[in-house]
């Protein structure tokens, strides 16, 4: 049951995946910039 809920949650996330990835890229990029700014 728990596994099925996780699968359903993952499938619900798929349409938002590019936006999540972009947000993560911004965070990682900002962190990297902070190391030399």
């Amino acid at each position: 049951m728990k596994k099925r809920r996780l699968v359903l949650f993952a499938r619900a996330l798929v349409p938002y995946l590019p936006f999540i990835v972009l947000f993560a890229a911004v965070l990682v990029g900002a962190y990297h910039i902070s190391t030399y700014w």
């Binding site: 349409p15 936006f19 990835v21 972009l22 890229a25 990029g29």
Partner: protein, 377 residues
Amino acid sequence: MSGASTREQECPTVNARKAVGQEFLGQQLPLIACAIVLGYAAGYLQHGFFPRGEQAFPLTGMHVPVWHVIWMGAWTGYTMGVVGEAAGIFALPYTMSVLQFSNPHVTPTTQLLTFLNPLGALLGYRRSGQWNLDLALWVCLGGIVGGLIGPFFRLTVLSDVKPFQFTVGVVLAFAGVHLLTGALRGFRDHRRRWERGEGRWEERKAEAGFVPAQVEVALSHVISTISKDRGQVTIGYQDRRWTLDPKVLFITGALVGTLASALGVGGGFLLVPIFASIYRLPMYVLVAATIPYVIVLSCVGLCTYGIILPAITGTAIHPEWAWGLFASAGGIFGSWAAAKTQRFVPEHYLKLMLGAVTGIAGSLYVINMFFPLPFRL
């Protein structure tokens, strides 16, 4: 009984998940692992040590960890793959402005990325019938010429950071406008479908995992050459025909290739809009020309930077091989993930966001040429 029928109903979904998993483990993972291993080997052969920690990429002049390069390849390959654009045009400004790799070596390094990334797609398109040598031949020949000329521009006219950034900015602004117009067209078409009452049906089909109408997948159809006479090539797909002039294809390939190889990108960002708007080729057909073109152009560009340029001018601009291979490893995964999830993603919203980001980045590069900005680009 109900348990058995539930299992039978779930079988197609379970089988689909297994197929995706097997495809990743059997095809993609070996390629990714190979690229990473080659990256470490290239680092050792080029610099005498394995890339690690603070000394990963000497040619960049910056401290960038290996995982960040792989991550860059993955997210640029994924986001741009979802909207049908190549990763190079996004990876280049990120590499220059965030990772601060902006010396001339960045150009052949990103060219290495644009050479390796589409190889997997080429095989996939060949398998699905999206392959036509007559369509690809003349534009690829033009790309060879462009790949021979462009690096000389990089060495001379675009050798300084500011003119190079300015040119990248103009190209980014163009790519941003292309993405934004694509997004607006998508919103308009979606609204029209809703008004005709087709919207809900398309969305239900998408939820059920059917391919949306705007994504043309025709596993049983090929792109065929109808005729080659009087200096014209006519190709056909299903019941549609297009007549193309090889001379125009050659010149287009050469001009696009000159600019793309001077910057270190694949050229798809220009070639796709040209084919789509002037020749009205659908995406399913034009990839038969653009994917081979990007590979050919990138290969010739790399050879020019590494062999021809030093032979003629005495100056070589070598790629940071390890960087390119690590980024390609991420790009292989990213573009594969994009192919698997693209049909579930609201493409127009993503195009709108990426178009805005690309356009703003391009505008900043252009402005910085004339009015120095208060922050480093």
